[in-house]
Symmetry: C2
Subunit: 793 residues, 2 copies
């Protein structure tokens, strides 16, 4: 932008005052524990004992906060802002305090001298606030701790919010991350008709922690090509150290006006229709400011402002060194705090002239506290969707395909409301959920050709081959008060392990923030799972996401392994109703025996685990001699096959079959809200009988969940032990010792005296395993008896 007299002198004066106030408040948070308004000369005891925080990015963020206030007020704009740069905490907490939202939500940190002192003291101190945007920050739905997710969150928030502008400050450090780099292409999925707009502000302040940022060190032309290549029209605002900020205020105001005019025009054109659809080249701001702008230019003769040395605390040892203390005071007074605040700490009216009112304030916009906007999701009656089960184990269905019917109905029932989205990395159809395409398309704004199918500008299925973008979209969508489901190949969920962990932390922390309303659960459907990667092989075999998630906050995380189609429906119905939760559902897409009718499935899922009397040989009057437990569709099939062998060959053995859907049931009650009491657990698993547990994933997870139970020393678990390869379904279970024959042998080996008594059966099980090996070597496929096996219910 060239210099333009966009602003009146009065506006300029007021904006600059607001910005100086934010800069003062940001520096104050890093340094001061007392004397917040410099009523007296600074003394060492006014300085925090430990100087923590990150000054470098703050003045630039403050500039954005100030200028967003102007355009929101001027245009009555419905806008939120995602603060991407790490450690911008002092800036954004200052912004919320100055506009008054902070004090409204935290009355002891009000907009007066005592509140200012508390604002300063709480920053980066025990029991206080962290050094980046976080759940405690009014107006934020994004945590600035782990970098890279800002832009994906912003796009997720904009989806299905046609009146909303989501400004997103992208740090030049975080721009180097994979998640952020992938997110630039999210503009090919944003619908100018039904979605809102995203306005990225690429904040180039030159340095990360200790290194220059790549994007800040490209020749200007190369950066411009890159951003145009991402599909944007870049608008540039550049500030230089030492220069009067007047020109920057004018440039920033002009650039924001151009950007918002463009956005409005694109949306109007698209919404009024007529003419060919053409993807807008949405505007983007490139804001180049010196790192640590307006802070100390030099310290002890070494340049600080504009260098990586301004990243954290630009002026250290101020308590110890009187010269440094004076330098800090000069710096703080350079903002002329007495012009900005009264002696009572209240901001003067001209400082607040640009601040919008009520819910238009960035800290008060309800979209950033999405639970406030959340509506109950309309869920269909499962009766019309469930599969009929006359007899367990006689018919086969693909569980996820049955779920697809349910999701189709949810999509249809939310067609007007548009508050449900399905996201996935190019696998919705591969995961057999394609029924949804009968009622909605895959969102797509890039070019199309005649042979494309199910692509549409207004679709609500989001497919992109970036798990990060899928996860980020969905998080942003949920955090702004909507519903959704992420379907993925099980193995590749670990790609977003860290994002998932951060989301759990957000939910866990938000639960302690009284003014945050609960949001809809983040639901994962992990399918195309470890046991059925017949040709993809070892690289696609990884059931570890469940282990990862179960390490996190027990109030938030849940894991479900429905064993068939109807239980998957019931689990889906449940998880889509939950709040402030992260639910992981693992289910197969391959044909799988139906075990339970809908009513049985409802009961079973409501209990989370249960004894399947019809599958065992237990006598009603006695305790079982052995428990065969199973969790997951393939282990359930193998366990039930083993039970069937035992029933036929050793009818006198009292076998109890237990199926687990809700894995947290295994945990002690005091460790997870779903956990069973010891009494409940013992009633199902006994206290002293051998338990053979066929589990879907890594076997030691079961030990980690059950080690406090009385029966634990007798639990023997079979599961996936990284014995993976390209092979048939049955060979996979044999390689990992999870097959029916091995499970029968495990029973024989663990029930006292049985191995001897049933030596013939044991031998025939060994023989079957040999037969399997020989058969597969010769035929390259599974033996007919396992391929066509049915449970003789």
């Amino acid at each position: 932008m060239g210099p333009q007299a966009t602003l009146t002198d009065r506006e300029l004066h007021s904006l600059d005052a607001h910005w100086r106030a934010l800069n003062y408040l940001a520096a104050g948070q890093i340094y001061l524990t007392a004397n917040p308004l410099l009523a007296e000369p600074l003394r060492p005891e006014h300085i925090k004992p430990r100087l923590l925080g990150h000054w470098g990015t703050c003045p630039g963020l403050n500039l954005v906060y100030t200028h967003l206030n102007r355009v929101i007020s001027a245009r009555d704009l419905d806008a939120v802002c995602v603060w991407g740069p790490g450690h911008g905490g002092p800036a954004v907490f200052a912004g919320a305090w100055l506009e008054g939202t902070y004090g409204e939500l935290y009355p002891d940190v009000g907009r007066d001298l005592a509140g200012m002192a508390r604002l300063f003291r709480q920053f980066s101190t025990p029991g206080g606030v962290p050094s980046h945007a976080a759940p405690q920050l009014p107006g934020s739905f994004h945590e600035g701790g782990e970098l890279g997710y800002s832009l994906a969150h912003a796009y997720g928030a904009a989806l299905d919010n046609p009146g909303l502008v989501v400004v997103c400050v992208v740090g030049d450090g975080e721009a180097e991350t994979g998640a952020l780099a992938a997110s630039w292409h999210a503009d090919k999925f944003l619908d100018p008709v039904y979605d809102g707009a995203v306005l990225p502000v690429l904040h180039l302040n030159g340095y990360k922690i200790a290194n220059p940022a790549v994007l800040a060190r490209l020749p200007e032309g190369e950066l411009d090509e890159l951003l145009r290549g991402y599909g944007h029209e870049p608008l540039y605002v550049t500030a230089a150290a030492g220069e009067d900020p007047e020109r920057t205020h004018h440039d920033m105001a002009a650039a924001l006006d151009v950007a918002l005019d463009r956005i409005a025009a694109f949306q109007q054109a698209a919404r009024e229709g007529g003419g060919a659809r053409r993807r807008p080249h949405w505007p983007l701001l490139v804001l180049r400011t010196p790192k640590g702008w307006t802070g100390p230019a030099e310290v002890a003769g070494v340049p600080v402002e504009g260098t990586w040395r301004a990243h954290q605390v630009p002026l250290a040892r101020v308590r110890e060194d009187p010269g440094r203390l004076r330098q800090l005071e000069r710096w703080l007074r350079s903002y002329r705090p007495d012009e900005l605040f009264g002696a009572d700490g209240r901001p003067r009216p001209e400082v607040l002239a640009c601040v919008p009112a009520g819910d238009r304030r960035l800290g008060a916009n309800p979209h950033a506290n999405g639970g406030r906007l959340l509506r109950e999701l309309p869920l269909p009656d499962l009766a019309g969707l469930a599969v009929a089960v006359d007899k367990p184990g006689t018919r086969l269905h693909e569980p996820t395909r049955v779920l697809g019917g349910m999701l189709r109905q949810v999509m249809a029932d939310t067609a007007e409301r548009r508050d449900f989205r399905l996201v996935g990395p190019d696998e919705t159809a591969s995961n057999r959920l394609q029924d949804v395409y009968a009622v909605t398309d895959k969102a797509w704004q890039a070019e199309t050709v005649e042979t494309d199918e199910h692509l549409g500008p207004h679709g609500r299925v989001m497919e992109v081959l970036s798990e990060h973008l899928c996860q980020g979209w969905l998080e942003g969508y949920l955090l702004t008060g909507r519903h959704g489901l992420f379907s993925s190949y099980e193995a590749f969920a670990d790609i977003v392990a860290s994002m998932a962990s951060q989301h759990v932390k957000w939910v866990q922390t938000a639960r302690t923030v009284p003014w945050r309303a609960p949001i809809a659960a983040l639901n994962y459907l992990l399918t195309s799972h470890v046991w059925r990667q017949d040709h993809n092989g070892f690289s696609h075999q990884n059931p570890g996401f469940v282990d990862h998630i179960l390490n996190k906050d027990p109030q938030t995380v849940r894991v479900y392994l429905p064993p068939d189609a109807n239980t998957l429906l019931c689990v889906a119905d449940h998880v889509l109703r939950t709040r402030d939760a992260v639910n992981v559902v693992v289910a197969g897409k391959q044909p799988c025996f139906d075990w339970l009718g809908l009513e049985q499935a409802r009961d079973h899922c409501a209990r989370g685990l249960g004894i399947w009397e019809w599958a065992g040989t237990e006598r009603p009057d006695g305790e079982p001699e052995v428990v065969l437990a199973c969790a997951g569709d393939v282990p359930t099939q193998e366990a039930l096959a083993a039970a069937s062998v035992l029933r036929t060959r050793l009818p006198e053995l009292a076998v109890r079959v237990v199926n687990i859907v809700d894995m947290a049931k295994l945990l002690p009650r005091q460790e997870h809200p779903h956990g069973l009491t010891d009494r409940e657990f013992d009633a199902v698993f006994t206290r002293d009988r051998p338990v053979i547990f066929a589990y879907h994933g890594y076997p030691w997870l079961i030990h980690r969940l059950t080690y406090r139970r009385a029966v634990h020393p007798r639990i023997h678990v079979r599961g996936y032990r990284e014995m993976g390869t390209t092979t048939t379904p049955f060979d996979m279970v044999v390689r990992n010792d999870l097959d029916r024959y091995r499970l029968v042998m495990d029973v024989l080996d663990r029930v006292p005296g049985l191995a001897v008594r049933a030596a013939g059966l044991r031998q025939s099980m060994e023989d079957m395993r040999h037969r399997h090996h020989a058969w597969i070597r010769q035929h390259g496929e599974d033996m007919p008896e396992v391929a066509e096996w049915s449970w003789p219910g």
Copy 2:
């Protein structure tokens, strides 16, 4: 490229024959189980019972393979190729077979009819090869299963290999992933003097699994801007369905010649010096080919070639449907196999005319079997680097800073050889390893300004704020026969959890491939760990990477938690010598007590765990009454403080202190090669005494490792339980019940009768915890007695 007569007719004929042969061999792998050369008309029994595989990407990959052969031969080029597109297995296995390398390494799959039949049969069948590039593939150092890592691997391979050209085919699907998107900026780190070149080939074949690819659906100008924005000069080769491939052969040959000429010129200019350094705009090929090119144009009236329907098996049900069988036969015969192969299955000479000889063949280049090139890393004598320890617990050092001294020496000693790199996401200095900058710079080819420090074009420290790129660089570097270390904040290692898992799978599989030579270990240094995120807070607290890695192949994974500076040195010395391993080392960067002198540290680390007699109160003649175990620097400090309290206040109690460095020692011997036998384990931990275990991470990991041990029911673990926040170091341990006072109480509660006998001590421990809470509320920092505590050794 416009049409140019780059090739003579004879060359053209030969290249086309080679390409047709690859296409034939690729299709054959998907379909045929017998009659490999169509010696007789196709019958259903010649067709595989289950049709698996991905045809869509193959013809394009084949074109690259064919044309790389030409330029390698013509220029005597030292080149390898990374095959990024997922599921290109049939193409790349065909390439290796046709050039002869496959048969040399797998004599039963030789270049004859029987070998061809086996090549076809083994594809995607049990015990065979997977559907993508994998360790079994000669010439590959990249697994094509999980997408997104190709370009990072390619750059890693090119580092410090000045004579090497690494061609990297990037699929348009994988280009959407975060890891790949971030990798485009790797060109800002590639040194034209000491590094080789990377030639990306962006393969736009239009579709992923079920969706168009974003990059394939950009307007041409926008794509061009994007690629120029990434710093490249794009060269375009476009093929259309149905068109004679002659023009494409000419274009491809011309484009490759231009690209390789440019590369040579850039390198020559940089290496001959003179003139200002200017970052080359390295060439990049955009290869646009129809998906499933040369396959069936239509099936049952529906377009297939050029659509997503060609992604997997373009022609299904060929066994069942005679019409389809005929269509398959017509398709296969369209490659004129009888012109390409003799009746004995041997390729005719003109087919092989372009194939380079010996180690120049893509499948034989030694860089792709890096262990063959690996040299022992020169490691310094630790005596000159270790810290002096007269008495345990009296002096403090920052362990990673001490390690920095060692790494500096390694950097210095490899200055000429250039086979060691340090990678990290902008944290080398933050992690206190900055001593290395005394001998090498941070690699940097983008713009610089005067205030920059330690940036240089030839540096061997790689810093970029993308964990994916760091990991990918290092993997590529190791897989091509060099050494390195990845240092990261502990919390953010999970960002590459899935990459790490795939690397373990590669190593595990490669170990079973007899011709693959062992490579250097992938070493992680996880620091800035969970207990010391005083101001970063909750978002930076995550010790779960250890749990993740310990789920993987026990032959490959190891986890070390050295408790002080000298043990960190010994562990580093060890892991840098290991092969075919993934080592995770967790160590602090904050001042930490020195416990062991160098010789003690060597012994302790060699054993992996041990009793610290000097810290306990055990009598030489008896068994201890309680075991205080600890793993990790902070837990060790707390456990030793607890031991010191017990020693002073309950001198008659026989306490054994055990420190664990090598976590796998806790596993049973049969489950991990480092595991202790039960006898060894019991000798350290006893069979029946209470064990209070202070652990660095999630406490249940210890249960998962020890559940088979006799003493397990008596093991009580304290660790991190997601009770995280912004707070002081001691408050963190208190919040998670890992503090010295809690550990003392745990001892009192678990040694029979002691709680009553030592009720006063128990109360004073409670009092200390109360005092802590009150103090921190008032002062915002830790009590002096914990901040300044020293072990009264």
